[in-house]
Structure formats: C-alpha cells, structure tokens
C-alpha cells in the first residue's frame, strides 16, 4: 500500500497498464514531455517512451477519431481531453462512432478506448473549465460513463476502464485531485494522505463498474451522489445530524439500480445530488427510476440539489456550486416532509 492523491492514483493506473500491455497508448494535449496540465501523466513518457505517451495537436475530434481507428485495429488507446469543457468537437466521434461501432458492425469492429477528462468546478475555471457534461454521455447507447470520488476507486476503476472492451468515458472530478473537498471552500482541502481511501495498492487491481459504494450507512435518508458531491453529502449529513445511507455511484452507465432501490426502500426518503445543471441532468434519470421502483416506500418527495441551469459563473462560483448549506437545507425539507 502507498499513500496517493487522485493524480498519483490515476498516474499509477496508467503506469501499471503501460507496463503490462504493449497495446496501451496514451495521448492528448500536453500529456507527453510535460506530463499533462494536471500532471496525471508526469514521467510516463520518460519511463515508457515517446511512442507510448505522446502529445497531440489541439484537436479533440482528431484525438478521439484517431483513437477510434486505433482501438478498432486492436490497440487500447487512453486519451486525455484536457478539460471536459473541450470535449464537444469530439462528440460525434464518441456518440456516432465509438459508441456505435460494435453494434453497427455486429461485433466485427469494436472501440475499446478510454477517454479521461477532468470535470467540475471549484478551481476558478469559469464557464470553460468547470462543466460537468455527464448527462450528455449517459444518454448515448453503447458508452460507459464512470466517475470516481477518491484515489482508491480512481485507480481501480481506471484500470478496469482500460481493460474493458467497450468505450469508456472516465470523468475525473478535478476539485478532488489534490485532496478531499467537502464543499467548504473557506478551509483548505483535506490531504488524501490521511484518508483511508488514499491508501492505494501499488500494483494491479480493479474496481467493478456494476457496484455503487455505500460510503455511510444510516436509516433516516438515502443520499445518492457521485464525484465531488459525495463528500459534500457526507459533510451536510453530519451538519444536519442525520444518519444517512450515502451511495457513491462510481458508475452512471452501467448503473447499480439494485443498491439504490434497496436503500430507498429501507429509508423511505431520498436526496439526489450533482454538480451539473439541473434540467435533463442525470438526477432526473435517477429520480424517474426511484419513483417507479420505490413509490410505495417513499415518505417524502424526492429532492435534487444541483448546479443552477446557468453557465458556470466565474465570480459567483460558490453561489453556483451546490454546497453544504444547500444540501443541508434540502435534507431538512425531506426530513420534515
């Protein structure tokens, strides 16, 4: 075991796969010599060579399109899109090509590529470095969407993603890279070094997509979250003084609906959180499933706390971010209903 923050855990996953499998290639903007703007690939080119880890033109459509061709050939490209806000030029290649190739060719061609990209706000990134576009991808048949909340899961899920034979979008909550962030921006992020989920095996291991992590167990309420919002949920539940089941989804597609319904049927109350904008967000999908499967167990309307339906504002970042206070208020509303 080693102590790793999320950047180190991701780098370790990449290092393990580069060492194990000569068909794994890593490319993206600034990922080579420099090691990536968030340092996730630092040192990997030096260790594994120029043709294994290399820089690309500023061309997200080109990066993903080339990766589709390589993956169809039989390689396992792992590409980095520097910020998820930049992914849209590659959207056609993801939705119409990578996600469809197996289906339309009846299995003759597949696209086992992994697309890593940082998501979420809280780093003064403004409209173009803060988005959480997961719902634009969970709507696409044939694509898996993964989002870890801690170093241990990040490494195990990323190795799993690279080994998966389907295209995987791997979203990295950038506010968690260097430490646990619970939504209170007035205090410094808590180092992963002191957290049990910052204990990461150095070698190979995987975390399955099919199972959500039950972070906290309680009987009052079920809080469903992923990425950064998992830690906001934990802090808000503590502040509200309630015992909640906190489910960290880890994977949006495939979704562990069984754990969700089991918990909500037990608690009878449910809060859904995400940082992304509200309308047509992934929360809507979760709530639709929960009301269908848990309707008779529900004792209160399901509530969602999300980012507002606005672009991510630069100066008003913390008014936008669904922080502890808003989550705590929602908890009280549900508990009093």
């Amino acid at each position: 075991m080693a102590r790793m923050n999320m950047i180190e855990a991701i780098r370790s996953a990449l290092d393990v796969k580069l060492s194990q499998d000569p068909d794994v290639l890593i490319f993206g903007e600034d990922v080579g010599y420099f090691g990536g703007v968030f340092r996730c690939t630092a040192g990997l080119q030096e260790k594994h060579g120029l043709t294994r880890v290399f820089d690309t033109p500023i061309s997200e459509g080109g990066i993903i399109g080339a990766a589709v061709g390589m993956a169809a050939y039989g390689l396992r490209p792992v590409v980095e899109i520097q910020f998820s806000d930049y992914i849209y030029p590659g959207y056609d290649q993801i939705c119409s090509e990578a996600a469809r190739l197996r289906y339309r060719s009846a299995g003759q061609f597949t696209a086992p590529l992994t697309i890593r990209t940082p998501v979420g706000g809280g780093i003064h990134g403004g409209q173009t470095h803060s988005q959480s576009p997961e719902a634009l991808f969970t709507h696409i048949a044939g694509l898996k969407t993964i989002i870890p909340s801690n170093p241990y899961d990040a490494k195990g899920l990323l190795i799993k993603a690279i080994e998966d034979n389907d295209p995987v979008l791997f979203l990295e909550p950038k506010r968690l890279y260097n430490g646990l962030f619970d939504g209170d921006h007035n205090k410094p992020a808590v180092s992963w070094a002191g957290h049990e989920l910052g204990e990461v095996p150095e070698g190979h291991y995987t975390v399955n997509f099919e199972k959500a992590r039950l972070l906290e167990q309680g009987t009052d309420l079920t809080i469903i979250a992923y990425g950064t919002m998992v830690w906001v949920a934990q802090a808000a539940a503590k502040a509200a003084g309630i015992n909640a089941d906190i489910l960290d989804l880890r994977s949006l597609i495939p979704l562990d609906l069984e754990s969700i319904t089991k918990s909500v049927n037990k608690t009878g109350r449910c809060l859904v959180l995400h940082e992304a904008t509200r309308t047509s967000g992934f929360g809507a999908e979760l709530i639709a499933e929960i009301q269908q499967h848990c309707f008779y167990a529900l004792e209160a309307p399901i509530v969602r706390v999300t980012g507002w339906d606005t672009p991510y504002p630069h100066a008003l970042e913390w008014e936008y971010f669904p922080g502890i206070e808003r989550v705590q208020t929602a908890i009280q509303t549900i508990m009093e209903a």
């Binding site: 061309s59 090509e97 469809r100 061609f109 998966d164």
Partner: protein
Amino acid sequence: MTSKQNRSKLFVPEPPYRPGDTPDFSHIKIPAEHSPSRPDPMIDAYGTQEQATGLIRVLKLDGTPCGDWDPKLDADTLREGLRHMMLTRCVDERMFSMQRQGKMSFYMKSTGEEAIAVASAMALRPTDMVFPTYRQQGILMARGWPLKELMCQCLSNAGDKLEGRSIPVLYSVRELGFFSISGNLGTQMIQAAGWGMACAYKGTDDIAVAFTGEGATAEGDFYYALNFASTYRAPVILNVVNNQWAISSFQGIAAGQSKSFAARGLAFGLASLRVDGNDFLAVYAAIKWATERARNGGGATVIEHFTYRKEGHSTSDDPTKYRPKSEPDVWPFGDPIDRLASHLVTLGEWDKERHDALHTELTAQVRESYKEAEALGTLASPSKIDPASMFEEVFEDLPAHLRRQRQEMGI
C-alpha cells in the same frame, strides 16, 4: 455623406447549369496527351504541386495510353478490372430496380465511379484496411464478397450478417479489409489515420485507405485526418472522390475558390495527386504510387479522383430537379467501363462479342444471387430477425438496464 468603403458582397456560388439549361463543358481542357509526370514516390511532398493541380491520366478517350503513369498491367489483370466494374454496375442496376419495387428501403448506385473503387482495391493488398463511403461497393466486387451477402444486407433479411441494424449499403466486412461504413460523413478519414498510426506502431506492413466525397471534405474530420497523418507520418491514403455533386450541391459549395481538392494536402505537407477518376489505369497507378510511398515510410498521400456522379445521390433524390437532365451525357471524361474496354480493344485483347457475353454472364449471376438472397426475405416481408438481437452488441455484455428493457418488451 461618407462613401462606402467596404466593397464586399456576400457571394453564394452556383453551378454553371441548372435544369432547363444546355450544359456545355467545352471550357474544360482535357489534356489529351499530357499528364503531369510520375515522380519518385519518395519525393518531397511539396514537389507534387503539378500533380496536385493538374490531372494525372493514362488513357486517352480513344483508349490509347499516354504518359509515364501507365502501370503496364497484363491483359488478364485488365480484363479482371473490367469484369469487377461491369459486375458493380450490374449489381447497382438490379438493386436500384428492386428498391423501386419496394423490396428494400434505399439504395445508392456508383455509376460512372466504378474505376475508383475497383482499381484502388486491385492496387492494394487484401490486408490493407479500407474506410469506404457508401459509393465504393466496387471494392467488395474486387475483393470477392459473395453477392448474396451484399444483397441480404440491403434487404435487411435473415441473411444479413449485420442483423438488419443499418440501412442498405452501410456494409461492414472485416475479413475483406472493409471497415464498417458510417452514415455520418467524413468521420472515417481520421479513423483511418488512427488505423495507419496503429499499423506503424505495431510495425506491420499494412496501410489504411480512406475515402470521402468532395462534399464531406468540408467536415472537420477531414482536416483532423490531414493533420494527424502529417504529424505522425501515418501510412494512410486519403482519397477524395470529387464526383461534382453532394446530393444537390455542386462541388463549388465545398471547394470555394479552390480549383483542386488534392491541393489541400499540400497545405499539410502531404504528397498530393489529382487523378482522372474515370481512367482505370490512372487510378491504379496513383494508388500504387501512394502505397509505395506509405510502405516506405514516406507517410500519407492525398488523392483527388476527378469524376462525375452519373445518377442521383441515392434512390431518394431526383437529380433532374437540380441539374440538367443531359449533364451526365455531355460530361467530357467518358465512361470508365467504356474507356477500359476500348483500351483492351486497342491492345487486341477484347472485342464486342466478348463484351456482350461477359455482360450476359454477369447479369445472370446477379439475377441468381438476388433470387437466393430474396428467398431469405425482404424488408417488405415479415422480419425473421430475432427481436432480442436488438439489445445485443450495444455493449460486449448485456447490462442490467438493457436486460430490464428486453424483459419489458416481453422477450
């Protein structure tokens, strides 16, 4: 009063002729004897300027060869090329009329463009992966795909190996080096660059070969491909089939003021050739040149095949609604099948009797294959495709949410 300083006017290009006009292409100078010369395939990319802006030709319209691009193919190979082209046209005719009879939803002919697909396939190795558009069915003829399988795909019937998932002509035949055709245009250009990069990374001898129409060169994917192919020296051939028409939009809509699609390659430092696409020998020679360059580590070549789409874009459009009815007949570059046949005649290796006999043989072959294919159903007959197959191969394994949806369907 201030005088107007900006003299710009919004300019929207229009084709020279529309329905009702009498098309006249006498202004197009057909270089009867002249073709840009054949340089060494490892020439510096910028040395191909004349080849990128002129028109590489071998066959004069009377069937006699000229210039140094003549690949000097033996008569058997030439006859094989002729057979594949004629078969392609035969299949197109049959499928078009079957679509008109309601047996399938859609079809796309490649009439007038057969040389591009067939000569390319014959100049390549069978292991070179082609990333085709919907108008390179000639590759499948040249690589020997059983006609019945092609027809079953178009009929979306029980014999369709793609399980009726795609509209007709969006074939996928991995074992013949034929990549799954996307309905989204241009996307496969950059994928081919990626495939070529993978070939180079793995150190194999194979290359990738992509096709796009001139219309879809306007997509970003085309420029991604040029950029990546140039940056990583990918062994890939990027073909632009300039058949003058993108559904109803003439080539000037994509070309702008540019006179050559091939010349776009030069801007990226790629060797570039502009070829008479109705000239079987010129296409063959150009592709061979590009394969030599790619396999020798010289990287990618951009090839514009200058041709003409003789029929509608697909069964869904009527070309007389946007261009003169007579335009295909007066297009001055002739017909690729006639031109190769005349060449064989001038060599004393072909005659009208053999030509007619071959046509009769191929027509019978197509008729027989179609009968066999239709016996497995048409789109109009009740589908024999298992509805449960709809949920398969979305992912490698069936995830829980798709299992629930399949159960919801009652299967």
